[in-house]
């Protein structure tokens, strides 16, 4: 698509949407949102960008192969699930830092779990998308 408006808009949309997706991810524990929706939004951001500039450009921006995000995300999710095990609690028990962090609020293993989900969703969606567009 060669529309100038679309191209210009998507240049600004990409960072905005990505920021928004992180915002959605972080607020998930208290307000509507979470890792899954956040991940989908981030993927949409990249998808829109690839519509405007073509797949190659998007891949340049991402730099790494999105497939790598999947194992990293799984590592986060499984790590967060297993972490309590190492201090003798049943796995998947929620662990929390005592003090809230600035901007983010309370941080616990659930957040890391959500980050894992977030990364897996981005990785999986982008992998599917890139391999689809690669062939047609």
């Amino acid at each position: 698509m060669k529309s100038l408006i679309f191209k210009t808009a998507s240049t600004y949309l990409l960072p905005l949407l990505l920021l928004f997706s992180i915002f959605i991810l972080l607020r998930g524990h208290y307000l509507p949102g979470g890792g899954f929706v956040g991940g989908l939004m981030a993927a949409i951001a990249f998808l829109i960008h690839s519509f405007a500039f073509g797949l190659k450009e998007t891949q340049k921006i991402i730099k790494i192969n999105p497939g790598y995000l999947m194992p990293i995300g799984l590592f986060f999710a499984v790590g967060a699930a297993m972490a309590p095990y190492f201090i003798g609690a049943p796995i998947l028990k929620g662990l929390w830092f005592e003090e809230p962090f600035r901007f983010i609020g309370m941080v616990g293993s659930a957040l890391f779990f959500d980050i894992g989900v977030y990364l897996v969703v981005i990785g999986a969606t982008l992998t599917i998308m890139f391999s689809l567009t690669d062939t047609v």
Binding site: G28, Y30, V78, V117, T127, M129, S131, V136
Partner: protein, 769 residues
């Protein structure tokens, strides 16, 4: 005990890590494994003799009654000693036999894995874990038979063996489950107490039939015997170890193990006697028609297995004792014969019994081992084979009305096996040495010491049966028969009918060996009957099955997404319609329905318009966008009914789907021809019906009393327990966190699947584009 069993698996796994660095050392290090295990099991001889049996218990899956519990009694100890003892010899033998082979390290990995699974089979007290080990032996045998993986014949034999024994294993699994249902436990030791209940239950016939299939496939009984000669494609150490001494005896082990539990009924005895007798005579005849040494040995092994089944079927104390001794005697002499065949093959390059002769001039120690093994297989006095034969004849002679027939069959088998044994153990070494084998020489002691050791054991145990009588055979007998009768093993039984039969066997067998020369012509003649052999019948049966599966698959899996959708929808519609046929229970209370607001009406109208658009347009992109609108309208409904999380997710998913569709569809050529009218009508009818049914179903759900307990608990405790205020998210990451974790894994699998399906290009011509 657990470590002793799984050590082989650990070793097998370690091969892949260490082979890179210590490729040379692996054969020698690995040979120590069975040797040390053999010594380990030897220690238990005294304890078993005094105590009867020892139980080792390790929990595994207690909630399903599946444990890794091991039972060491006479029978399992005999097998464990054979597995590790013959294993040690085979491991050592292989170091030289396959010296310099590219995959020697891998071979040792498979062998260790096999040894561990076989130990697991014979030691497991829990039937479920026994089944798992049982299947592991089939799998490791598959690897070992197909070891020469570049040879198509060897791959085919491996597959045949795997499908036959694997099939038998699955049948046995149903037997185990049925047994558990009746007897109330997977533990053999516990089941023993409810033997009478099981025998009197209505499922008894099914249980023994299923177990029989398992045992017969594994132990190569007629008509499942044909995988065993095929398995001879494996390197000789494998044939020695798996296909004569241990794995094929797993079926015998199973029958012997279950004799005290299931045995001594009419069906048990008559089935085993019939199958055993048919197998032993059929295979014995076959064995003297072959000319390839390994084929001869393969058929004589099948025949020996038939004898064992036959003896267990007779089921008297004498017969079970005979089976116990014969298991050991056969393992000793048959393993030796196989090893000797391997040496001959290795040194001369030939296994043709019509050509081989006079080799004793060049390899004397091998010839000695061959003589001992052949004589033991013939049952010449002073050898272990003699004692087993004596007891066997005693057993058949005592069997009431059928004594004469059974004895005659046993004698006939023994005569033929004598000839086969002599061909394998004596014929290659006697006579004049042909010119072509002059170059053969005595190989390394690593090759000839193992069979010689086996021979010495045959001789030692045969000449002095008291060596094993009380220490080994007595516990074996007690665990097979389940009684405490004290047995006596004697060399000299007095001058009686049994001895006359023995002498008759030896004389007529010797005469037959003298007159019947192995010849290719006779073997050729038997090939005419190949078309009615069980192998052919089963193979053509499986071909029919495969082509049926092909037709079936091509019909249903035709690769058109629209056909899949139609099939799924039509099936669901039929299913639900059938259910609704019995009566629908819908009651709508108009009073309770919340008032319909004007924006809801707007959204519904929007949905209807876009659906009409989607089905009437001729452009792909328009219909996709229209469907997207339907999805967004759905999101609005979620919002109206206060499910912002759901709405948000649905919204993103819809966006993503539409965008992905566009990515692909934009590049496709324009639709030239559209669905015909008939297809349109068909689709419309189907979708209308499906939609109506779903609507009815949704209305019906209201009739079910809904429970708010779970959701109330989640909502009340979200902040207290999980420090979150968004209940939906707390459910996802905390309450049902395990679900989410597994779902992310599923997502990854799906992505990898899509990636590999799209990137996989099976059409080579496309590569040029």
């Amino acid at each position: 005990m657990l470590i002793a069993v799984i050590l082989g698996f650990i070793f097998a796994i370690l091969v892949s890590f260490f082979s890179r660095f210590f490729k040379k050392a692996i054969p020698f290090v690995y040979s120590l494994l069975p040797l040390s295990l053999f010594i380990f099991f030897l220690q238990f001889l005294g304890e078993i003799k005094s105590k009867g049996h020892i139980l080792f218990h390790y929990q595994w899956i207690p909630s399903l009654g599946i444990d890794l519990s091991f039972r060491l009694d006479g029978l399992s100890l005999l097998f464990a000693l054979m597995i590790t003892g013959i294993g040690a010899l085979v491991f050592i033998y292989t170091t030289y036999y396959l010296k310099g082979h590219k995959y020697l390290d891998r071979f040792y990995g498979y062998l260790s894995m096999f040894m561990a699974s076989m130990l697991g089979v014979v030691l497991s007290d829990n039937l479920m874990s026994m089944f798992i080990f049982w299947e592991l032996t089939s799998i490791s045998s598959y690897f070992l038979i197909g070891f020469n993986n570049e040879d198509p014949a060897s791959r085919k034999s491996a597959l045949t063996a795997l499908s036959i024994t694997g099939f038998g294993g699955l049948v046995m699994l149903s037997g185990i489950i049925l047994l558990q249902a009746v007897g109330g436990s997977y533990s053999f030791t516990e089941l023993l107490n409810s033997s009478e209940i099981i025998k009197n239950s209505t499922s008894y016939g099914w249980i023994i039939a299923l177990f029989f299939v398992g045992a017969f496939t594994k132990s190569a009984q007629f008509p499942f015997h044909f995988w065993l000669p095929g398995a001879m494609k494996a390197p000789t150490p494998v044939s020695t170890y798996l296909h004569s001494a241990t794995m094929v005896k797993a079926g015998i082990y199973l029958l012997a193990r279950f004799t005290p539990l299931l045995g001594d009924t009419f069906w048990w005895n008559s089935t085993l006697i019939t199958v055993g007798a048919v197998t032993m005579v059929y295979a014995a005849i076959h064995s003297v028609l072959r000319v390839d040494l390994k084929s001869i040995l393969a058929y004589s092994t099948i025949s020996a297995l038939g004898i064992l089944v036959f003896l267990i079927g007779i089921g008297t104390e004498k017969a079970l004792l005979a089976a116990g001794i014969f298991i050991l005697a056969h393992a000793l002499y048959k393993a030796a014969l196989f090893l000797i065949t391997g040496i001959i093959d290795h040194e001369t390059g030939s296994r043709d019994v019509t050509k081989l002769a006079g080799l004793q001039q060049v390899m004397m120690p091998v010839a000695v081992a061959g003589f001992i093994a052949a004589l033991s297989s013939a049952g010449v006095p002073l050898l272990l084979g003699f004692i087993s034969k004596e007891v066997m004849y005693e057993a058949t002679l005592q069997f009431g009305n059928w004594a004469i027939i059974l004895t005659a069959l046993a004698v006939l088998t023994k005569i033929l096996l004598l000839v086969a044994g002599f061909w394998a153990g004596i014929k290659p070494f006697t006579g004049a040495l042909p010119e072509e084998f002059k170059k053969a020489k005595l190989p390394s002691p690593l090759l000839w010491v193992p069979p010689l050791l086996l021979g010495i054991m045959s001789l030692g145990f045969g000449a002095f049966p008291s060596l094993i009588g009380q220490t080994l055979i007595q516990p074996v007998f007690s665990s097979i028969s389940g009684t405490d009768t004290v047995i006596q093993l004697k060399l000299w039984h007095g001058f009686n009918l049994v001895l006359i039969l023995s002498i008759f066997t030896l004389v007529s067998g010797g005469a037959l060996y003298w007159f019947l020369k192995p010849s290719k012509e006779i073997f050729q003649k038997t090939l005419r009957f190949e078309s009615i052999s069980p192998q052919n019948i089963i193979e053509s049966g499986s071909k029919i099955f495969a082509s049926f599966a092909g037709i079936w698959t091509r019909f249903f899996q035709n690769g058109y997404l629209r056909n899949y959708v139609i099939t799924i929808l039509a099936f669901l519609t039929l299913l639900m319609a059938y259910r609704l046929f019995g009566g629908v229970n819908i009651y709508v209370d108009w009073e309770q329905i919340s008032p319909v607001s004007h924006y809801e009406i707007i959204v519904v109208v929007l949905m209807i318009i876009s659906i009409l658009f989607a089905i009437s347009t001729n452009s792909r992109s328009v219909s996709i966008v229209a469907l997207g609108v339907v999805g967004f309208a759905n999101c609005l409904f979620f919002l109206f009914y206060s499910a912002p999380d759901l709405a948000m997710t649905q919204f993103s998913i819809d966006t993503l789907t539409v965008l992905l569709f566009m990515l692909v569809l934009v590049k496709l050529p324009k639709n030239k021809q559209y669905s015909s009218k008939g297809i349109k009508v068909r689709d419309a009818v189907l979708s209308l019906m499906f939609g109506t049914l779903i609507a009815i179903l949704t209305l019906e759900v209201f009739e079910e009393p809904s429970s708010y307990e779970v959701s109330k608990y989640f909502a009340d405790n979200a902040y207290l327990l999980a420090k979150g205020r968004n209940v939906v998210n707390v459910i996802l990451v905390d309450y049902r966190g395990f679900d989410t974790m597994i779902e992310t894994v599923v997502l990854v699998i799906a992505a990898v699947g899509v990636y590999s399906l799209i990137k996989l290009d099976l059409n080579p011509s496309k590569k040029d584009l």
